[in-house]
């Protein structure tokens, strides 16, 4: 078993983590950067299987490498052994990583909402189909509906179109007015406005709807047909794939295990991206959904602070404040409407791991009681899918994270310090 150590350990190699690793290394720190995925880039800069990583990711990684940042790919942090000491699972076995300071850049997950038929093969998360297409799923020529909520839908629709898919329509649950107001506010962010304009240009020809959402997916064994509600009307499509998610949820499990305060689902940080635990910093979507620009800025601040720099550079500070205002407008514009709670019927499966239906849950008043009684959220995904859904549907808090944060072998949970020989000699010869 291996033990590693560094001045700064960055967990997550998305935009926030890459920026943090670069800033910390450029400030002179010895940096380890871990990510569960095989390559750096995180969600937005995920490398396609048959092409180069996107330019900004390449650039940050070039700088990181230049400064000697050590990347541990396919290395998922699953536990906290003691203060500033993490345990991670890697292809070669479990590793212990000691850190002078930790930067949490664990990103976000998509929120899925259950509706009849959502468990059929062919139904994907919106970012999920993009990730799968980047890892080899053929989408060219496929008829795809994009639905749910948030700007991610537009990015995914444009991506799918570029890959040659036939995007039948985009169905956004938010009201047109709210989205228009949000779009208007982009005037304050010229860079984002240009990106948005380019994106909308790419989407020309794809029907877009607001106040619209999927109500039913059908098919024998695979998705064949989707019914969506647009205002008061229902429409049906024959299709190959559905790409659907309802916004993003910060990934805060590791922060919670470290004892950091989490409020409204996001890791609480101050101006230096410090969490409430000494020497633990957080940046990017883990601290609230703000998009890639804010992830990079926060990462840079966190990385520098973790390496010992005192105050954030004033320019970064100003930009971050602007980005946070953007994040607040984003959350407001794409707030989930209460009608979506009615999508899930009594016999709709909520927990995919244990096949728990909504009707089996609603008789319990307490989330923990329901989970214990039905095993909802106790399968391998540990509530990552049903947790955010039930948070919206029932107001239930997300399951409390515990060791291991992701399923790992029993061997990985046996730490180096445990004296195995003591128990091995236990078998005296008979």
């Amino acid at each position: 078993m291996t033990e590693l150590s560094a001045d700064v350990v960055v967990v997550g190699a998305g935009p926030a983590g890459l920026a943090a690793a670069v800033a910390a290394a450029e400030a002179g720190a010895h940096v380890i950067l871990t990510d569960e995925q095989p390559a750096p880039g995180g969600q937005i800069w995920r490398q396609p299987w048959d092409a180069q990583p996107p330019a900004p990711s390449r650039e940050l990684w070039r700088r990181a490498e230049h400064r000697g940042v050590r990347l541990l790919p396919e290395t998922a942090v699953f536990g906290v052994q003691e203060a500033r000491c993490l345990r991670a699972a890697s292809p070669g076995g479990a590793v212990t990583i000691r850190a002078g300071a930790i930067v949490l850049a664990t990103g976000a997950l998509e929120r899925m909402l259950p509706f009849p038929g959502w468990t059929l093969p062919g139904v994907f998360a919106a970012g999920g189909i993009q990730a799968l297409a980047k890892s080899g799923l053929e989408v060219a020529g496929k008829r795809i509906v994009v639905a749910g909520s948030g700007p991610l839908l537009l990015a995914v629709a444009a991506f799918l179109k570029r890959q040659g898919a036939v995007v039948l329509g985009i169905f956004e649950q938010a009201e047109a007015m709210a989205v228009a107001r949000f779009a208007g506010s982009l005037l304050l962010h010229p860079g984002k406005l240009r990106q948005a304009a380019a994106l909308l240009g790419e989407l020309t020809g794809i029907p877009g709807h607001h106040s619209a959402w999927p109500v039913r997916a059908e098919g024998t064994g695979w998705l064949e047909r989707l019914t969506v509600r647009v205002g008061d009307q229902e429409q049906s499509f024959e299709l190959d794939f559905l790409a659907c998610s309802f916004g993003l949820v910060p990934v805060t499990g590791l922060a919670e295990l470290l004892g950091c305060r989490v409020e409204s689902g996001a890791v609480v940080v101050d101006r230096q991206q410090r969490t409430t635990v000494p020497a633990v910093f957080a940046a990017g979507e883990a601290t609230g959904i703000g998009g890639v620009d804010s992830a990079v800025i926060e990462g840079a601040i966190a990385g520098a602070a973790a390496a010992g720099s005192m105050d954030p550079a004033p320019s970064l500070d100003r930009r971050r404040n602007r980005e946070q205002a953007f994040a607040r407008r984003l959350a407001l514009a794409f707030r989930l409407r209460p009608e979506l709670k009615a999508l899930c019927e009594a016999d709709t499966i909520v927990c995919r791991c244990e096949d728990v239906r909504f009707g089996a849950l609603i008789r319990y008043g307490d989330a923990r009681e329901a989970r214990l009684a039905t095993r909802c959220g106790m399968g391998p995904c540990q509530g990552r899918m049903c947790g955010p859904a039930l948070n919206f549907l029932r107001g239930w808090p997300l399951p409390r994270p515990a060791l291991p944060l992701i399923p790992v072998t029993a061997r990985a949970l046996v730490t180096d310090a445990t004296d195995r020989t003591a128990s091995a000699t236990f078998f005296r010869e008979s």
């Binding site: 536990g79 906290v80 052994q81 003691e82 345990r87 319990y364 008043g365 307490d366 923990r368 009681e369 214990l372 009684a373 095993r375 106790m378 399968g379 391998p380 540990q382 515990a402 060791l403 291991p404 399923p407 790992v408 072998t409 029993a410 061997r411 949970l413 046996v414 730490t415 310090a417 445990t418 195995r420 128990s423 091995a424 236990f426 078998f427 005296r428 010869e429 008979s430």
Partner: protein, 377 residues
């Protein structure tokens, strides 16, 4: 006339007591501070077993196992009942001798068991390490899912007219009354406190010497591996860990669940109320399990958690009336076998409350024995 009954606490013990008294015809109210099963019971393995540690423990476990068995047909599937039996695993010749003696003791008392030699042990559990001396199979032991048992028992009570008030913390209780934290005072013909570890602090008039010791335990559960494990396996030196006074110990104790998952225990820590999973203890516990089941190390662990067993200094539960406080009973202190012994406990309480003949001699579990505990401490 039958008394109106208040049961404080809806763990496995409170649920069983509520059901027994409701079925007997009492009007039963269950007051639970959080939700049913939220205490030790929700954290437990559901091993139903007989134990020969002392004559008193034997009688209570034996009675209870028979009472559980009587429910198997009706409730089996809902309880996730597994008739898997226990295998007490002997590491060496010395432990195999212990196994043989335990088997003989069981036989004298009419409980079936089977001594396994090295070969038979491996045939019974192919994933066990080579070189283990053998074991004792007790085919009549089983496994259930404790939260399901609480639910079924309370449903039974409700069918017989009981009411369950979850989210209703009791502040204190005395002979024939309880006071809620909201100030309401409720009278009752009989009050049974089955509040687990919280029991002593609920007594308005303290019982001198009464103390419960929290014994923290860790558990880990795997993904589904149907057929991987066939019996509940426990190391023969288990009772040393269970009853020892070492501040921290681990023992090999694994359980096959109806889902094909494997529940891995166990640890015991005396000096802590920390509700978090401790990596170092978990590590020792899993390493211990892997010395018996080497391939266990390759299985995937989904979750880990901890619970606190309500223990007494003499390793026997407190079941019976509180001396000098008429209309007040205690039912707690079952340490690591409260699920296994819940139905026997309920039968004893029922007999005591209704003045019926007890199903077994209640003296060893009587509350008045705590007077001596101060002197020991």
């Amino acid at each position: 006339m039958l008394p109106d009954v208040i049961v404080v606490g809806a763990g496995i013990v409170g649920a069983a007591v509520a059901e027994a008294l409701a079925v007997a015809g009492c009007r039963v109210r269950v007051l639970e501070s959080a939700w049913p099963g939220s205490g030790s019971t929700g954290a437990a393995m559901g091993h139903l077993l007989v134990l020969d540690d002392s004559e008193a423990q034997w009688r209570l476990t034996r009675l209870s196992r028979d009472l559980w068995d009587a429910r198997a047909d009706q409730w089996g599937a809902a309880l996730e009942w597994e008739s898997c039996g226990t295998v007490w695993v002997a590491a060496d010749g010395e432990e195999l001798e212990l196994a043989r003696r335990r088997g003989a003791w069981f036989a004298e008392r009419g409980v079936a068991s089977e001594l396994l030699d090295q070969v038979a042990l491996r045939a019974a559990e192919p994933n066990l390490a080579a070189g283990l001396a053998g074991g004792l199979r007790v085919p009549g032991d089983s496994v259930i899912y404790p939260p399901a048992a609480v639910r079924l028992l309370l449903e039974g009570a409700v069918r017989h007219g009981a009411t369950i008030a979850a989210g209703t913390p009791v502040k204190r209780a005395g002979g024939g009354w309880v006071e809620l934290t909201n100030g309401d005072r409720l009278p009752a013909g009989a009050v049974i406190i089955a509040a687990g570890l919280a029991t002593p602090e609920l007594l308005a008039t303290p019982v001198e010497g009464l103390a419960l010791i929290p014994k923290k335990g860790h558990l880990a559960i795997t993904d589904r591996y149907p057929g991987w494990l066939r019996h509940q396996l426990v190391e023969l030196s288990y009772l040393k860990s269970a009853h020892g006074s070492a501040p921290s110990s681990v023992a090999f104790n694994v359980q096959p669940r109806a889902t094909g998952q494997i529940l891995i225990g166990s640890s015991r820590q005396l000096d802590t109320l920390d509700p978090t999973v401790e990596p170092a203890t978990l590590s020792r516990m899993l390493a211990r399990a892997a010395t018996y089941l080497p391939r266990l190390e390759t299985l995937t662990i989904l979750r880990t958690w901890v619970g606190f067993r309500p223990a007494t200094p003499d390793n026997l539960p407190l079941i019976g009336p509180v001396p000098g406080q008429p209309r007040l009973w205690l039912a707690t202190g079952h340490e690591g076998i409260g699920v296994a012994t819940a139905l026997g406990t309920a039968a004893l309480i029922r007999a005591s409350v209704l003045g019926e003949a007890p199903p077994l001699d209640p003296t060893p579990y009587a509350v008045d024995r705590v007077v001596g505990w101060m002197a020991h401490a």
